[in-house]
Structures are given as C-alpha cells and as structure tokens.
Symmetry: C2
Subunit: 209 residues, 2 copies
C-alpha cells in the first residue's frame, strides 16, 4: 500500500522553519534591491539572515528559486502598499494622496534604489524566463489596480466619458516607472514629481464640469 503520490513533495516546514525561510527571503530582497540580483551572493544573504549554507539550500533548491520568492515578496509588498491608495480612488485629492505616498518614499530613501519591481524587471527580463513571467504578471496586476481606481473615479462621476481608464492606467504606470528611474539616476525627487504631476494634470483635463 503506497502513500498517495505527491509530485511536488515539499518537506513540511516547522514554524521555526517558516521563520528562517522568510528571514532569508527578506534579507535577499533587501540586498537584491540595494545591489541587484547578480551582485548579491548567496554568502551575502547568509550573513544578513544569520544562517549557514546548509540552511540556504535546505529551503531553496538554487539561487533562481530564491529570486522567484523575492519577486513574489516585492510584488505583494509594492502592490499591497499601492492598493491602499488605489482601492478607493474617489477624488482628485485621493489621486494626489497616492502621488504623495510615492514621492515621500523616494525622498525617505534619498532617491536610492528606484522601484523594487522595476529594477528586478530590468535586470531579469532578458535572462531568466521564469522570473520574466512572474514580473510580467506583477505588472499586469499593478496596472489593473490602477485601472480599477480610475474606473472608480469615472463611475463616481469625477471624470467625463472621454477618459479612457485603460490607456490612462498604462500611461500612469509608465510615467511612474520612468519617473522612478530618472529620480534614482539623478538622486533627485524632481523627475518622479513631474512625471506624476504631469499625468495627473492630464487626467484632470477629463474632470467632469
């Protein structure tokens, strides 16, 4: 009598095990955000997470697998934060609160690091197929939550029917990404401020009455 076959037989994780695992992911995410994936060695992560190499490979098959977890971690962190602002975007004040949230983060970090998802995207898209897929999904999800916010504004009657939430959402996300990159390069909040304000000004041209 055999036990039921389980293809993806993952070893069970103790509470302690789960803590160690997520400590590794968080440490890796921070390092990879600060210095990129390629520059971040397994040893770096080991030191930051206070673990030995056996632990590293006990929880992750290889570096690539850790990278996928980092992508997922950053995705939920970034999108979760933004959704707080986007889920009830009921006015231009709310839109500007979202803008302020983004700008404030950059100022707090001295304009270092750029977007946690954008930098992973740029580094991984061409060289890691699985990472590429994950990142693409993340961006679709992000775009979608912006679109929903704009649709909500439209339904609330804040925007007139000339406003196209699909196009505006994509253009906003692009402005956001480009603005963050330029802010990172310049070490100056101006680009992200102007990129977002210009797009918001454009959206304002669809304001009802």
């Amino acid at each position: 009598m055999n036990k039921p076959l389980n293809i993806t037989q993952k070893p069970k994780l103790t509470k302690k095990g789960q803590e160690t695992r997520s400590r590794i992911i968080v440490a890796a995410a921070e390092l990879m955000y600060e210095q990129g994936v390629a520059r971040t060695t397994i040893e770096d992560v080991q030191h930051k997470a206070n673990i030995s190499s056996s632990q590293m490979y006990h929880y992750f098959k290889e570096k690539k697998e850790l990278v996928l977890e980092v992508i997922s971690y950053q995705t939920s962190k970034v999108i979760g934060n933004h959704r707080r602002y986007l889920s009830d975007l009921d006015s231009f004040e709310a839109l500007n609160a979202w803008r302020d949230f983004i700008v404030d983060i950059q100022i707090k970090r001295n304009c270092e690091g750029g977007c946690p998802l954008g930098s992973l995207a740029s580094e991984l898209v061409e060289i890691n197929t699985e990472a590429h897929q994950e990142i693409m999904s993340s961006f679709f999800e992000w775009e979608d939550s912006i679109r929903k916010g704009l649709r909500y504004m439209l339904n609330r009657g804040e925007l007139n029917s000339n406003a196209d939430p699909d196009k505006l959402a994509l253009a906003l996300l692009a402005a956001l990404q480009g603005g963050l990159l330029l802010t990172q390069v310049r070490r100056d909040p101006e680009p992200i401020i102007i990129a977002l304000d210009t797009m918001i000004e454009h959206i304002n041209s669809f304001k009802k009455i």
Copy 2:
C-alpha cells in the same frame, strides 16, 4: 632633459589598434545590451570580437573601464539618433515622427532589450559610481535635447505660453523610459505607444489656437 610629464600617458593607437579597440566596444555593447553587464563575461566579448585576452587588457585596464566606454558608445548612438528628430521639432507632425521612430525600433526588435541607456542605468547606478556619473550626464543631455525641441516648437508658435518645456521634456523622457520598460516586460509595443501618445496628447492641449 626629461620629456614633458604626461599623467594620463596613453599608449598610441595604430589605425589597426583603434579598429580592434572599437570592435571590442561594439561587441561588448551588444552583449551587455542583450544580457546585462554582469552576465557578460570578458570571454564572451573576446569571442564576439575575435580577440585574445591579451588584447582585451591591452586596450582596457579592467572590465569597469570597458563598461564606461560602452556607456559612452550607447549614449552617442541613442542621443545621436534622437537628435535627428529633435533638432528641428517644428510641428506636431515632427513630434509624431519622433514617436514613430521610437515605436518602430521596438517593433523591429520584437520589444526585446528595452532602452540601451535605461537598462545600463538600472543595473549600474547603485553599484558603480563612475558609471553612475556618466549615465546621469547622458540623461541630462538627452533631456536637454528634448527640451530644446519643445522650446523650438514654442518659439515657432506651435505651443502657447502655458506650455513649460522644462517640465514637459522631463515628463516625456520619463514616459519614454517607463514605456520602454513595460514594453520590454510585456513583449508588446502597446505600453510605449500609449505612454508616448498620452504625453503628446497632453502637449497637444497647449497647442496654439
């Protein structure tokens, strides 16, 4: 009697030497564009450029020095191409020709690779100080050539006095960068098209009469 001191005593380069040197830079630029700087090994470049390792280190002190040359090469290539469109931006048709130029490139490359400067920026800004400085200058120069184009439109009377070429140039460059990143991630020209068209539509709101 001493020869005059020359701190940065560079060995003279024969015509043949210059050819080899630039062959190395071009090969490195292509590889680094396709797979990133970190992923591109010196050996990769040697094969692509058909040279031996002694030649590599005869022309460049170390990989970092080659990277700086690649940045400079990509800068002149990208900005040179764009300047052809931006230097006499005399109408909205000219603005749209620039847009088409950018979009067509992406389509031709199957939306792979993103922006040659943007990807270098994202990979290097946080980990290579000298590269950071070069890239920052490149972006300032690029922004400046966009600004000059818009000023030209303003002076020609295409735009009214509410148009701020400084802000619009920065916002356009941000939209361009973000649009290229999303197009690269999605492998779809839509993001760059919508990002640019939305900004151009916004600029259109400053059209005179």
